[in-house]
Symmetry: C2
Subunit: 408 residues, 2 copies
């Protein structure tokens, strides 16, 4: 992509009314725009990162047999009444239709997926299965000051699983935990993300959150450094030690909840009367689990985790472009290098604009592609470009012929 | 995909309260589920088709330089007030937030994209450009009886372009028309889709719709068979002849509006004060165009266009799977053929279920993959399978070794 053609520009001044670092950085670098408080639009750079995050999640959920669907966001009142959540779920956006019906926007989708699954479950042979979607969700938050970490509108991957019994759910739940760790590893968050024990609700002793350590985190967790698990703030009064090794010295840390998983049991299948016939022909209740990851929150968390005072430092797996090619008044040669790299399959943002070196370097640091490639009179005098990793202070001269391979 | 693992099943009885053919067929075949009136959820088969439609649209819009973004669905009241549409746009879903603010769900996005563009347009050098999104839209329809052709919630590709003057808009508008024809051609709708002259609103003499001839269409158009263009019902009283050749014998036909394009001029840039500085440093208003295609409506239109009394007949470009492999009690060999075909890159739905031949054939016809491949004792006696196109009555025996190549 030629930067002269890129829809958005970097923004010099800090956005007003934006308290969070992640949204400040993403707005300044031209990845997102603030449409309202807790409501963001994704610009070309941000959309590219979001797509990569979603694709990583999709691949790992497909790997455990998840089938992708897309459920409606406009959910009839009757569905919410079946589970009593129409009256009790504060964060629902409720609205009236010109058809004299009432709806709530999907803040979560148990009320849609459960009756839908019921239409397709007859016998034990139809179980188990997992279906998921990656979809915009809406939550009617009173306050929204954490940028992409807590939006009124945000993207969510929600997976739901259906089972004949608790043992089958337990086995699936473990597979999801492993898939989630792979996802966070691929997103660059693996080293700082802890499986965190949380209250289990009506069915299991614990549910689990995936918490990424971060100074801007709204949550507090209590980490066991021996087991690399944690206990969340809500249950630490009753669960004072590590649930795995009994370690009594848990370290309190700030963190961002990047995922959560629940054993739902029959909480939703019971009100929607979702049952199956077992091998003996007896009706049995279907056992459910649900598993969430917010791609837009993950994006915010990556920014909180990877930045310095000059801007964002994207992990290669989710970077909008692998390299930022910066031409310092050498567009003719830089054009050739750009064509060469893109032909070789590298994703390149090419700064072909008529600006000073200082402005271009500042933008490259702000946007944060993993590699910066500078083409100048000085580098060309040695048939080379300067290749610098975003996180490094110093670059190295690389022969033009060797560049494509070096960027692979 | 093994059909025994597929989340959804075909549905024997016709859905209640569903008047439209497209939704009836898609529900019976397990592509969509009805969440509410005019509100559908996309199941694994339907999601696959929708993704293919979106990808075709994306490729052709990218080809004319469109940059993909994703705007917010929750749009503050203030944005709609700026254009007076808060009070006048009947089809808005309006809602109140717990933050004491009011919002409307995006039924269209001029009120978001225009101020957003304004933040990135300074000089004539920043123009022209086009940005688009593929996103869920919401329209508060009084009635919704046309299935996927007119939903309360639906998918929309909306492209917006920004220009220095009308001449530049005109040139871009022509490029979009050509891109749209390519899209409808690739979707299998090319032969039945007409560029249709419609009222132009405040700026141009005409806007244009793309109308696909269909018995279930809600619109009536007046077709010039010489020029392959049409005039829509609303303006035919004043435009009684073909706008291109003057042909007076226009044929009245039923059609579905699958796309529409408008020259907006300054209708939205004026209220949001989106201006640029020309080469002489003078402030000028930005000229806009907008261009819509509904992928979910296109899906419904394809079903209306391609079916027989046994079910859907997907064009290859958007089929959920290229081939439906049907095993008649020969799963051992069929397993091998399935592995062979998928390894060769073919998308195959494999009916490995324990059902009768009649039930399997009925499902294959209903689901409508372009090719049916039958593996039976009889075909295997000749080292063959029976390969039949969905639209044909008779198949042919094909040697197993030659099948993968034949399906390419």
């Amino acid at each position: 992509m030629r930067q002269s053609q890129l829809f958005t520009k970097t923004v010099k001044e800090l956005p007003k009314d934006e308290a969070s670092y992640n949204a400040q950085a993403l707005i300044r670098a031209g990845f997102v725009d603030k449409t309202g408080a807790g409501i963001y639009s994704y610009l070309p750079l941000g959309k590219r990162v979001l797509d990569k995050i979603c694709q990583i999640i999709r691949e790992e959920i497909d790997n455990i047999g998840g089938q992708e669907i897309l459920m409606a966001a406009l959910i009839p009142k009757e569905n919410w009444q079946a589970t009593d959540r129409w009256a009790t779920f504060d964060a629902l956006f409720r609205l009236s239709g010109n058809d004299q019906r009432e709806y709530a926007l999907g803040a979560t989708h148990e009320e849609v997926v459960t009756p839908l699954a019921g239409k397709n479950i007859f016998s034990y042979k139809d179980l188990p299965f997992g279906v998921y979607q990656i979809q915009t969700k809406f939550r009617n938050e009173k306050r929204a000051k954490a940028g992409l970490l807590r939006g009124r509108e945000f993207l969510m991957k929600d997976l739901y699983s259906f089972h004949v019994d608790e043992a089958d759910l337990d086995a699936y739940y473990e597979r999801v935990i492993q898939a989630y760790f792979k996802i966070f590893q691929r997103l660059g968050l693996g080293d700082n993300t802890y499986l965190t024990y949380a209250s289990g609700g009506s069915f299991a002793k614990y549910s689990h959150e995936f918490q990424t350590l971060a100074e801007e985190g709204e949550d507090r967790i209590h980490v066991c450094n021996q087991c690399r698990v944690a206990v969340n703030q809500e249950i630490v009064a009753e669960q004072k030690t590590c649930p795995l090794c009994g370690n009594e010295k848990l370290a309190e840390m700030k963190a961002i909840e990047v995922g959560n998983i629940f054993k739902l049991g029959t909480k939703f299948s019971a009100p929607f009367e979702v049952k199956y016939k077992d091998a003996a022909g007896r009706e049995q209740p279907v056992i459910m689990g649900c598993y969430g990851i917010g791609p837009s929150r993950a994006l915010g968390t990556i920014v909180e985790t990877y930045h310095d005072d000059r801007g964002i430092i994207w992990p290669a797996s989710v970077a909008p472009f692998r390299a930022h090619l910066v031409s310092l008044n050498e567009n003719q040669t830089a054009d050739e290098i750009y064509d060469q790299l893109t032909s070789a399959g590298s994703e390149v943002l090419y700064d072909d604009r008529d600006l000073s070196a200082g402005e271009k370097f500042a933008d490259a640091d702000l946007i944060g592609c993993p590699y910066r490639v500078v083409v100048s009179k000085k580098t060309l005098s040695q048939d080379s470009v300067e290749l610098k990793k975003r996180a490094d202070d110093k670059g190295e001269l690389v022969k033009i012929d060797a560049l494509a391979l070096k960027l692979k």
